[in-house]
């Protein structure tokens, strides 16, 4: 029975089931993760496992598990886990790094140089097992002899989960995490660990400071000031609206004017925060804290 449903949702007939659009909308409303209509088949395949796990007979019945049943919050969390599974590997979003290299860093460097500052602070908030901060560290080291020559750069990588943090600190990765990491970068920033895994070099680790931070902990959040860039991918999706708004207020004050916040590629801040400006870059979007005196005017 369950297998039958799992199989059938991949067929186009079932994709027309309006329940999937409703499931999509529930997910968007609660987590900010959005799936365009043309990509509903991805959502359907992610739902399939949960549909069979709860024994629902149809997507419509599964929708009830997400909306009216007593365990809806737990179920939604389990579904979000399915949706974001496999999201973490190094160099996950090349357009984001391209935007950093070609648009954002030149802009930040220009503004800070004019004030005599040559320090860059990046925060990977919810760094999980470290793929994101190590990607950023490689990016910074590669740029350290180009546009960041003479600059001091550091990355703060935080997570709530001690086990994730320990894995991040150890920096041991297999083929999945490294699938988009080029051979020259592997040679430069990794050393062999065992037959199947590589470990990051001390040089790469030295760029990053790991710490345990709960994004809901006001006292700790208040002290994290002076950030140029914050990356927070697929973390806020598990927060309720009130907590999301509070975290966004913190992020806004954690960032320097002119700084940027990046979320996961399918995440949106719509109706969560209206102080950040949604900025479009080729293939990537980011949220900008404009400098004092910015009155609009479009392009950078």
């Amino acid at each position: 029975m369950a297998t039958g449903i799992a199989k059938s949702v991949t067929e186009s007939e079932d994709l027309r089931d309006p329940a999937y659009l409703k499931i999509r909308d529930v997910i968007y409303q609660v987590s900010g993760i959005y799936q365009p209509e043309e990509k509903l088949y991805l959502l359907a395949s992610r739902c399939a496992r949960r549909i069979s796990a709860v024994g629902a007979k149809s997507p419509a019945e599964y929708l009830e598990h997400l909306t009216v049943r007593g365990n809806r919050e737990a179920e939604l969390r389990l579904l979000l886990n399915e949706i974001t599974i496999g999201e973490t590997y190094m160099f996950r979003s090349p357009p984001q790094l391209e935007a950093l290299r070609k648009v954002i860093l030149p802009q930040i460097i220009k503004a800070k140089s004019a004030m005599g500052f040559k320090r860059l602070h990046i925060w990977s908030a919810g760094c999980s097992t470290g793929e994101e901060p190590y990607t950023l560290a490689m990016f910074l080291l590669e740029e350290s002899e180009k546009m960041l020559a003479g600059w001091t750069c550091d990355i703060l990588a935080t997570d709530l989960n001690d086990r994730s943090l320990n894995a991040a600190k150890a920096g041991i990765y297999g083929e999945y995490a490294l699938r988009s990491t080029t051979e020259p970068l592997r040679k430069k920033y990794f050393k062999p660990y065992d037959d199947k895994q590589l470990q990051v070099t001390d040089q790469l680790k030295s760029v990053i400071r790991f710490d345990r931070v709960n994004l809901n902990d006001d006292s700790k959040m208040t002290f994290l000031k002076g950030m140029d860039l914050i990356f927070c991918c697929n973390v806020l999706i598990y927060f309720d609206l009130g907590s999301k708004r509070k975290v966004m207020q913190h992020f806004y004050s954690n960032l320097l004017p002119g700084g940027y916040l990046f979320l996961g590629h399918a995440e949106s801040l719509y109706q969560v925060d209206n102080r950040f400006h949604l900025m479009h870059f080729p293939g990537a979007i980011g949220y900008w804290k404009p400098p004092v005196g910015y009155t609009g005017g479009g392009k950078l």
Binding site: Y34, H277, L278, M279, H280, F281, P282, I285, W288, K299
Partner: protein, 296 residues
């Protein structure tokens, strides 16, 4: 762009041998594009498609492609029903306009050009519907034709234009900026001349002329602003001119945005991130339609 420079280029464009009268089926086609979907004369579309063997073949191939479930579509009529009128129209117009430029004259990849044009058409229509713009089909047409001046530039200034496109590519700058620098005018100016030559309606002509200079638009301000924003969104979502344009855009801070909000206040609440993700979702279809026309 001064008036004298414009007058200098006018004879050069008018004298183009390759700029003949408007292709025979473009005018009836644009008329169809602008009628409300429920009033479209399907028989007329069947007739137009059947009129041209190449176009009919493109439609059949598209209808039989994996994107549309590989049906066994054998007639033009069933292809039209399988694809829907809008896709047929995009294929038709793409084919017609493509024939204007001989293959050895293109200064850039024609596939890239048509993906951008079709992408802009679809996004313009989508945005028009979202904000309650009264004529989404007009927005579609204006989006499809807004860059038509690039065809003029590639025909009339082939070698100069190749250098201009290469400079834009190397410098990661917008094409119209590179045109200003290397040609002294932009595709907006040359496009306006073609639009007038082909008797486009006044509002579509304004879009062609002012989509990079929204503040200068007069009577068709909202339509020009709409296409300007769609054009930007497409260039930001891998439907641009085929190279990296180094830009960060605060769409809601654009003057075009402010102009549109004046007329359509609901735009102020639009979920732009979601619209962006929807555009990404439409990519496969846009690529499939354009490939149906251009890939052998």
């Amino acid at each position: 762009m001064n008036a004298r420079r414009l007058e200098e280029i006018r004879p050069r464009i008018a004298a183009l041998e390759a700029m003949p009268a408007v292709p025979a089926i473009v005018l009836p086609l644009t008329a169809i594009l602008q009628s409300p979907p429920d009033q479209v004369d399907v028989e007329k579309v069947v007739e137009l498609v059947s009129y041209d063997g190449t176009i009919a073949a493109h439609c059949l191939r598209m209808a039989n492609s994996p994107l549309f479930g590989r049906r066994n579509t054998e007639t033009v009529r069933s292809a039209i029903f399988a694809l829907g009128l809008k896709r047929i129209e995009a294929i038709l117009l793409g084919c017609c306009l493509n024939r204007i430029v001989p293959s050895d004259k293109w200064a850039f990849d024609p596939v890239t050009f048509w993906r951008h044009s079709l992408g802009c058409a679809l996004v313009s229509r989508k945005m028009a519907r979202l904000i309650g713009y009264p004529d989404p089909e007009k927005a579609y047409l204006a989006g499809l034709l807004h860059d038509i001046g690039m065809l003029v530039n590639t025909l009339a200034y082939t070698e100069d234009y190749r250098r201009c496109v290469q400079a834009a590519r190397d410098g990661h700058v917008a094409l119209h900026r590179s045109e200003e620098e290397h040609l002294g005018f932009t595709h907006c100016h040359s496009g306006k001349m073609l639009a007038e030559h082909w008797h486009f309606t006044a509002d579509v002509t304004e879009v062609v002329e002012f989509h990079h200079e929204v503040g200068a638009a007069t009577s068709a301000g909202p339509l020009v602003a709409l296409v300007h924003l769609s054009d930007l969104l497409c260039r930001l979502r891998d439907l641009g001119y085929g190279y990296y344009e180094a830009m960060g855009v605060d769409l809601a801070g654009e003057s075009a945005w402010a102009r549109l909000v004046e007329h359509y206040p609901s735009l102020a609440n639009m979920d732009l991130a979601r619209l962006t993700m929807d555009i990404d979702g439409s990519m496969d279809e846009i690529v499939a339609i354009v490939d149906a026309v251009f890939k052998p």
